[in-house]
């Protein structure tokens, strides 16, 4: 099966995995316990599996694990904790933006990739950057409000 060992940095920690060539990055991450990486569609359409790889928000369900070899990956687990949530995570909770919560980690990664790049994005940049993440519960209003709250506080780049 041409298994191969890949190395990548996940949430700042160097990791090594033995993976098959057809294994998706999402599967590896979930099997390794990164539960924030959700399965919603497996076809690059819903965004629940969004991670940050080399600074870009990407769908881990349509990447092969091989493509992560030598890359730097962030998942929601690396963004905040119970004691010290990321400002966007805190804002999401304060604004009531977390309903079922299944899409939220992906939303966070898309937003973080945007804010790391551009702490004060335009409305159009926000709409385009968040376009890849579907939420069926909230109607996006409170997620939108939470994101603007973080931007207004100038906390976009904190992590």
């Amino acid at each position: 099966m041409n298994r191969k060992t890949i190395t990548c940095k996940i949430n700042g920690v160097q990791k090594e995995f033995l993976v098959d060539p057809d294994t998706r990055l999402q599967t590896v991450l979930r099997d390794q316990g990164y539960a924030s990486v959700k399965f919603g569609c497996g076809e690059g359409a819903c965004g629940a599996c969004t991670i940050i790889m080399n600074g870009e928000a990407v769908y881990s369900c349509i990447l092969y694990a091989f493509q992560a070899d030598g890359q730097e990956i962030w998942t929601t687990e690396g963004v905040g904790s119970l004691d010290k949530p990321h400002p966007f995570q805190q804002a999401l909770v304060e604004e009531g933006a977390v309903q079922c919560g299944f899409c939220i980690p992906g939303m966070i990664m898309s937003a973080k990739a945007l804010l790391d790049r551009e702490p004060d994005p335009s409305e159009e940049e926000i709409r385009l950057s968040m376009d890849g993440n579907i939420c069926r519960c909230t109607g996006y209003e409170k997620i939108w409000t939470a994101l603007h709250k973080v931007i207004a506080q100038g906390k976009g780049r904190e992590s």
């Binding site: 009531g96 933006a97 980690p105 109607g139």
Partner: protein, 774 residues
């Protein structure tokens, strides 16, 4: 009581599971999977209607990694209904775990559990099935013809309640009612209207697809961890399907990644449970997105003929609805959904002469189920379109026409008494209705006074403003029951355990707030847990807009009983009569200024004297289903060259009684409206000639994203429902009903067109514009 000051309810406290979910901590079924679990894959029927003449699973059983193969030859044949409803269900028993007949593309044929998903997939390919193809039935018209193929010819099929069920005619159910003299009133009306509307298939699309996992515990019982809205119904249906006692089964609901009604079913649990029993292993099954579309539950497509009569003065004299509900291959929820077309819609306007007749029909298409709005969504599209049309005909502002005719506090309706869920309804007088304020506040917010007739509009881009009014219910009266238990801890905190099932709505938080308010404590002192059939009291589950109103009252009653125990212990400690004591902020105060904290009281009760556990439980059933009310308004811009619709703004007002948590109530409204908008504008099932859905993917079934988000304003209009906990009614379902009719009415205001079906795709709108010009 109406002006009481609340300290916890009616406050937007933080959702208690918000942070754990935002951090991505392990919370959902998939997150609980051990590394050695077996994976299930299902062989689905490629045919819409066929008999399985032979099936050979021997090769599959010897394939690498395969631990269990199930099909109709080696599984229990116990007829059941997958719909998670009360018992006995108002739905037919027409389903087997596996059958020798398949009835839609996506019906079960055989299942494999293997060490890896890939091994399970490989094994499926080796299962040899031969089919005798039968004529598929793809329309309700064909289903009702005398020579139509019979979809459910199995002798075991029956409905467990006394209502008509005629599978030999493909009829799942019939229901109807009459009030006054409908035909006469229609004939004598100054203006009468008769139009037929079609509503499409659609799906809930929770981002978490259906998923269940089972294992066998140390005592040999089967434990099912599942993404369900109905853990207690699921336990009962699993027991029936497998033919094992309820006591052998434990159903646990962890966090759920959305449901919207789709998970008010037992769809995966029987398979993982039987496979766990046969293998002794953890067994997990999650549907892919395509499987979720094709084999999961859908919104019933319904044909609605609406006949109405109106007098020149604006009196609504006749209101008639004939509905044909396509329930697909199985009949779960078919009767109750179509009943709600009548019961949740016809009472909205005062009318003496009412006709309702409905049939539910089998076809060889995907299966309908419970979906937020539950029949009211379909029927409001038709009725609210026609209400607008009537106002136009008599030259009355459609807003004024609605103001003149809508139901008010103190009104009843013959519909309430006539139409229940599988039986007669319950007489009801409206105890709270702020629809008048909803209309006024919504009109002000959208700028209704700017609205001009479509005849004055010219040019390529034309704006239109439309509105609709809505109602729903709160619980199923005299049927649904919820229970709650509260136990006090030695630091003054409380465990609240409920069978009520938070599927992402925030009901754990809302119920925690109700308990905290009644216990005179704060939300951070509440440890809320739902739901586990071993550990929490019974509740029918999350459906019928019932949790806040029904389960919330059970919680309030339990909390009052626990508070009385607290006061009793404090009376003993402080040596004063309990009646003289007052509790607030987790402390009991005596008239002479002494006090005992909740922690001191619990420690006393647990360790010091006359020891006992301060705890109690309560159950609640409702005797009415008080409707929440809403008025929705939309302003859009129509491109008359292309038929494209651009939403400019949307205003959703809602009277949900006391909003227990205003931010969460707004969130329910915003989410419901957004779901309703994409239902109205983009979502649809496309089928090939063999009945297979061809767009079973988020790439081709378009769910709106943040990019599509319009300007949306939500206005909570308070009222006080005396029968609800602290004045609360429901909020979760009503708001999905508004977008389709409101947009249709705005299209009329923009360009003088009225559509009788949706989604309002550019093509469909453009065709309507051409018809009007011709």
């Amino acid at each position: 009581m109406k002006k009481e000051t609340f300290s916890v309810v009616n406050h937007s406290v933080l959702k208690i599971d918000g942070l754990q979910l935002a951090l991505g901590r392990k919370s959902y079924v998939a997150d609980l999977k051990p590394s050695d679990a077996l994976y299930v894959k299902m062989l689905w029927s490629p045919h819409a209607h066929a008999e399985i003449t032979s099936i050979d699973i021997r090769k599959a059983e010897t394939m690498p990694g395969v631990r269990c193969v199930l099909c109709h030859t080696n599984t229990p044949r116990n007829i059941h209904c997958t719909a998670g409803q009360g018992f006995p269900e108002p739905s037919p028993y027409d389903t087997f775990m596996f059958d020798k007949k398949v009835r839609y593309v996506g019906d079960r044929v055989a299942a494999v559990a293997a060490e890896t998903p890939e091994q399970a997939e490989e094994a499926l390919k080796t299962i040899e099935v031969t089919y005798n193809l039968l004529e598929p039935v793809f329309t309700v018209d064909r289903a009702l013809e005398p020579d139509a193929p019979i979809i459910h010819d199995e002798p075991e099929a029956h409905i467990p309640i006394p209502v008509p069920y005629e599978p030999e005619h493909n009829i799942v159910a019939k229901v109807g009612m009459e009030a006054g003299e409908f035909d006469q009133a229609l004939a004598q009306a100054d203006y009468s209207f008769d139009y037929t509307y079609e509503t499409p298939y659609a799906q809930h699309c929770p981002i978490e697809t259906y998923i269940s996992m089972a294992h066998i515990d140390a005592r040999g019982r089967v434990v099912v961890e599942t993404s369900t809205q109905v853990p207690f119904h699921a336990r009962r249906i699993i027991a029936r399907t497998l033919g094992i006692p309820v006591r052998q089964i434990r159903v646990i609901k962890p966090r759920i990644g959305g449901g919207f009604g789709s998970k008010q079913e037992m769809l995966l649990e029987d398979v993982v449970a039987l496979m766990a029993l046969r293998t002794g292993r953890h067994v997990i099954w999650q549907l892919t997105r395509a499987e979720n579309f094709r084999t999961g539950r859908t919104r019933h497509p319904i044909r609605l003929r609406i006949r109405t009569g109106v007098q020149k003065d604006g009196t609504l004299s006749a209101l008639g609805m004939d509905a044909i509900n396509n329930t697909g291959a199985y009949g779960g929820h078919g009767l109750t959904v179509v009943s709600c077309c009548g019961s949740k819609v016809l009472p909205l306007y005062r009318c003496d002469n009412i006709h309702f007749d409905a049939r539910v029909v089998y076809t060889n298409l995907p299966v309908g189920g419970a979906y937020r709005g539950f029949g009211a969504t379909q029927a409001f599209f038709a009725v609210e379109t026609q209400i607008d049309e009537m106002a136009e005909a008599i030259g009355m502002d459609p807003l004024v026409f609605r103001q003149k005719n809508h139901i008010r506090t103190g009104d009843g309706s013959p519909v309430f008494q006539a139409l229940g869920e599988g039986k007669e309804g319950t007489p009801m007088t409206i105890g709270s209705c702020a629809l008048d304020q909803c209309i006024l506040q919504g009109a002000a917010a959208i700028g209704w006074e700017r609205r001009t007739p479509h005849t004055e509009k010219t040019g390529r881009y034309r704006t239109g403003i439309g509105m609709c009014c809505l109602m729903q219910g709160s619980s199923v009266p005299e049927i649904d029951m919820g229970a709650a238990a509260i136990k006090m801890n030695d630091d003054g905190s409380f465990n609240l355990t409920i069978g009520a099932t938070d599927l992402g709505t925030g009901s754990d938080t809302v119920l925690g707030q109700i308990a905290a308010e009644a216990l005179r404590t704060t939300i951070d002192q509440m440890i809320v847990y739902s739901s586990d059939t071993d550990l929490t009291p019974f509740d029918v589950g999350a459906y019928a807009s019932s949790t806040t109103y029904l389960s919330g009252e059970a919680v309030r009653k339990a909390a009052v009983k626990v508070l009385n125990q607290i006061l009793g212990v404090a009376a003993e400690m402080l040596e004063v009569p309990a009646e003289s004591l007052e509790a607030r902020e987790s402390t009991v105060f005596s008239a002479d200024g002494r006090q005992a904290t909740y922690s001191e009281i619990c420690l006393y009760a647990l360790y010091q004297k006359n020891q006992f556990q301060i705890m109690d439980s309560a159950s609640h059933i409702t005797h009415k289903s008080p409707p929440p009310f809403a008025a929705h308004f939309v302003e859009l811009e129509l491109d008359t060259f292309t038929g494209c619709i651009k939403l400019l703004q949307y205003v959703a007002t809602v009277d949900c009684g006391t909003a227990i948590n205003p931010k969460l109530a707004e969130g329910q409204t915003e989410g419901g409206v957004m779901n309703g908008l994409s239902y109205a504008l983009t979502e649809q099932y496309l089928f090939d000639s063999r009945g297979k859905m061809t767009n079973a993917s988020f790439h081709n079934y378009h769910i709106w994203s943040m990019r599509d988000k319009p300007i949306l304003k939500t206005i909570l209009v308070p009222s006080y429902e005396e029968t609800g906990p602290f004045g609360a009614k429901s909020v979760s379902e009503i708001c999905i009903n508004g977008p389709a009719p409101a947009i249709n009415n705005a299209l009329y205001n923009a360009a003088g067109i009225r559509l009788r079906e949706f989604p309002f795709t550019p093509e469909r709108v453009w065709n309507e514009l051409q018809k009007k010009q011709a």
